[in-house]
Symmetry: C2
Subunit: 130 residues, 2 copies
DNA sequence: CAATTGCGATTACAACTGTAATCATAACCA
DNA sequence: TGGTTATGATTACAGTTGTAATCGCAATTG
């Protein structure tokens, strides 16, 4: 029986910026998160505190006490998040399948040479990988 | 000089259900939209009226008067919407490129046989199509 | 010990969403 | 013509999100 996978909480756009800071290095104090975000966003520290709190309530991050303050770490992996977001997106817009999305970008000539090469390599791999 | 493309307004999840009804056939009265949506959502008519109004204010739908009531049509195409949503999504999660997304699904073995075939066909086409 | 400072917690507040109910008004029916 | 309908318009209201300011308390410093 497969582990009952707990659902990935929804992470908003702003919250995801904080998560990225934690995914890139954990654990981190609120201040270090702020530094990591730097001027990617013109945020006050209190904004970041708010976001950390919301993520805590959602169980997307966890803390360990370090004296008077907290050190935050991501409680879900970036892969898990990518997956739930991607799945939601594909389901909503492309009937849950990858190919129609690729076809869409292809129709609009939005596939770069690099993308093309990468895709070719990928499906080549999959093909003979099994 | 390329036509100054007006930005696609953001369409919420619930609103997109209404848009789909209009994309599948336009123009339609509010009641016909409700019928088209049917029991896909357990919505009261007034909910649909609200959504139509919000979409109107965003200029995502337009109306023409038909006697006492309105007939609604989409003011943006589904392709435009798909594109702005997809671009936003890819930019946010996959650095704006398609290949990493496909790689992601591949890593999680979420590419069906059909997807594989379709992808192969697509890149084949692109390859010799130019 | 008192004043200051560093932090998490609480509160704020507007815009956007989901989901309606109610209001107003024009049209139709008796 | 007055009551009943059908509609669009207005109002409602809670939850989420973006973006903070402020409060309260523990620790540090003089």
């Amino acid at each position: 029986m497969k582990e009952a996978m707990k659902p990935i909480p929804h992470i908003s756009e702003a919250e995801s910026v904080v998560m990225e800071a934690l995914w890139s290095h954990s654990p981190r104090s609120a201040e270090e998160v702020a530094i990591a975000i730097g001027d990617e966003r013109a945020w006050q520290e209190s904004t970041i505190k708010t976001l950390l709190n919301r993520l805590l309530r959602k169980n997307a991050v966890k803390v360990l006490k370090d004296g008077r303050r907290y050190l935050y770490s991501a409680a879900i992996t970036r892969e898990q998040w990518l997956h739930s977001e991607s799945k939601g997106f594909l389901d909503r817009l492309f009937d849950g399948r990858v190919a129609p999305l690729v076809a869409h970008f292809s129709r609009h000539r939005k596939l770069s040479k690099a993308d093309l090469e990468e895709l070719k390599r990928l499906i080549g791999e999959l093909d003979d990988g099994k």
